[in-house]
């Protein structure tokens, strides 16, 4: 991602040039090279394969329509990811969309040592995307690209054409909401267990205690202010 290597840059530029010239074989080459990666990214953003064909198609239409502006400043993969993100954003914010259809992976075969882990992931995904459906689309995209698709913050900011600060804020806000949900949701909490274990239960308790204390202080402050106002009025 980001700045392409010279050889890759050359290949990307040649392929893009041929695509711009309308060479169908080049367009097919690019499509075949990238389609599964695009599908995986879109799947992690959208949470299911529901209507994903339309979004994939829209992504590649955007790619082929916009390649004329490709200058090779970033890799072709990043360029394609930008188109995928725009298509996903349009889909997430469209009126046609009615929640996430959670037709996730088939059940793992019994006896598989990783079965429990995968079953947890599957169930957690249902809970996670149910929560992500409530989050603003840009926050959701930033969060899924960073936390689920494995992009760095810098890469996400490049893909979303946003500043690093804005991207960090989007990821942070989405994470706050997911973590808040996880505190009440055993499945989601179990899925996020690795992190909480790393932090340590003590740290978690302290953090929670601090938050509750802060909230209480604020509430006390508000109550105090209201009481003062009431006293003044009397």
């Amino acid at each position: 991602m980001g700045e392409p290597a010279p050889q890759r840059w050359k290949e990307d530029l040649e392929l893009a040039t041929r695509c711009v010239a309308g060479e169908r074989s080049a367009q097919r080459t690019l499509y075949e090279r990238e389609k599964r990666r695009v599908h995986a990214t879109l799947y992690r953003v959208l949470g299911s394969n529901h209507h994903i064909e339309d979004v994939i198609q829209e992504t590649f239409l955007k790619v082929f329509r916009s390649l004329r502006g490709f200058r090779g400043n970033a890799s072709l993969a990043t360029w394609i990811d930008r188109c995928a993100v725009r298509a996903a954003y349009a889909h997430l914010t469209s009126n046609k969309r009615r929640g996430t259809s959670l037709e996730l992976v088939t059940d793992p075969p019994s006896g598989d040592p990783s079965a429990e882990r995968r079953a947890l992931a599957r169930e957690a995904a249902r809970h996670l995307y149910a929560e992500l459906d409530k989050i603003e689309a840009k926050q959701r995209i930033a969060f899924t690209l960073h936390e689920l698709d494995g992009h760095s913050i810098a890469e996400v900011s490049s893909i979303m054409e946003a500043t690093v600060v804005a991207t960090k804020a989007r990821v942070w806000r989405a994470r706050q909401q997911i973590e808040a949900r996880a505190r009440k949701d055993d499945v989601l909490r179990a899925w996020m267990q690795v992190e909480t274990t790393e932090r340590g239960e003590r740290g978690e308790r302290e953090e929670r205690g601090e938050r509750e204390e802060r909230r209480e202080r604020e509430e006390r402050g508000e109550r105090g202010e209201r009481q003062e106002e009431a006293d003044r009025e009397q």
Partner: protein, 344 residues
């Protein structure tokens, strides 16, 4: 959050669903390619639209004035961006691509991309380009593609013209190699392709051994001699730089002379069987390389390149080092150095 957390599983799309995406996408692209220019739907103009339209009209007028007053004067000079689509009207356009220049003839459309550091590709959609390419030296090659015809050059001046499926190449000076499908043709000063007598062979005035006809995969061509090389040894052929695939398998001549037509035949036969009989091809290249004569340099390079393609790094290094030492101004010296760098 941690990377050790179980990954969200991605449910793969079935082949049928992928086929649906494929069909829909390329049908849409076909429709866009064949669709007429969109027609504006009449609607009540807003204040912003009126202002915008006025700006566009002013800009169009400025462009029109520029075109009119430029008249039939000298072609303008543009610097190519990556990639740039250039369409000419009644007047030609001259482009600077790195240190090389491309003159795009009137009523032509080309896409040019790249620079001297990364190589240059010019795709001729229609019309004609007149390319003046400075010797590439250590720089990546300059390639012109017109339909399924590919012209790769190290340093020369040539013209590529395309009218639908018909492509014509004419070399003013220097040498280029033209490939279409499995046919690879070497063109030298004054040559044109296709010739009046044959649609697939070069019209080289000096036949032996200037025409290299090693078969090659589509879009895989050999670099041609530089201007310097062409002047010094105008008949020295260049060897293919990439593995030769899908070539028809033919048996090698049992006995072949080292010079003249027999050497050329032996070289061509070796090129054809690189994939089906690499050992035989290698033996022929070595035989030609050891004997001297005009086919020795390309044969030595081809042997080194073939060894590299087969993963025999030590052998490739020895052969290509030998090539660079023996023929420091050889037609394939840049490619040899690139392969050596890759091996190292």
């Amino acid at each position: 959050m941690s990377s050790e957390r179980p990954k969200i599983p991605v449910e793969p799309l079935s082949d049928a669903r992928w086929a649906k995406v494929d069909d829909a996408l390329f049908t849409a692209l076909d429709a866009e390619a064949g669709a007429p220019a969109p027609v504006a739907v009449p609607r009540a103009p807003s204040r912003h639209l009126v202002i915008g339209a006025a700006s566009v009209l002013a800009l169009a007028a400025a462009v029109l004035l520029f075109v009119v007053f430029r008249g039939a004067g000298p072609a303008r000079n543009d610097v190519v961006l990556n990639p740039s689509h250039i369409e000419t009207g009644a007047t030609p356009s001259r482009l600077a691509v790195g240190e090389s220049t491309i003159e795009v003839a009137p009523a032509s459309a080309v896409v040019a991309s790249g620079d001297d550091a990364h190589g240059i590709l010019v795709v001729v959609e229609t019309g004609q380009v007149d390319c003046e390419v400075t010797p590439r030296k250590d720089r990546p090659p300059f390639v012109v593609q017109a339909g399924n015809v590919r012209v790769r050059v190290v340093g020369t001046r040539f013209v590529v013209a395309r009218d639908g499926g018909d492509v014509h190449v004419r070399v003013a000076h220097g040498a280029v190699e033209v490939s279409r499908g499995a046919d690879v043709i070497m063109l030298h000063d004054g040559d044109s392709w296709p010739s009046a007598t044959s649609a697939t062979s070069a019209t080289s005035a000096t036949s032996a051994p200037s025409a290299t006809s090693a078969t090659s995969a589509p879009a895989v061509t050999a670099p041609a001699a530089t201007d310097d090389d062409a002047a010094a040894t105008p008949s020295v052929p260049a060897a293919p730089t990439a593995p030769i695939v899908n070539a028809p398998s033919t048996s090698l001549p049992a006995t072949a002379a080292r010079d003249g037509k027999d050497a050329q035949r032996l070289y061509e036969a070796a090129a054809r069987v690189e994939t089906s009989d690499p050992d035989g091809a290698m033996a022929s290249y070595r035989k030609l390389a050891s004997g001297g004569g005009p086919w020795a340099p390309p044969a030595l390079f081809a042997a080194g390149r073939l060894a590299a393609d087969r993963g025999r790094a030590a052998e490739a290094k020895r052969l290509l080092d030998d090539y660079v030492t023996r023929y420091p101004r050889g037609a394939n010296v840049d490619d040899a150095r690139r392969i050596l760098a890759r091996i190292r």
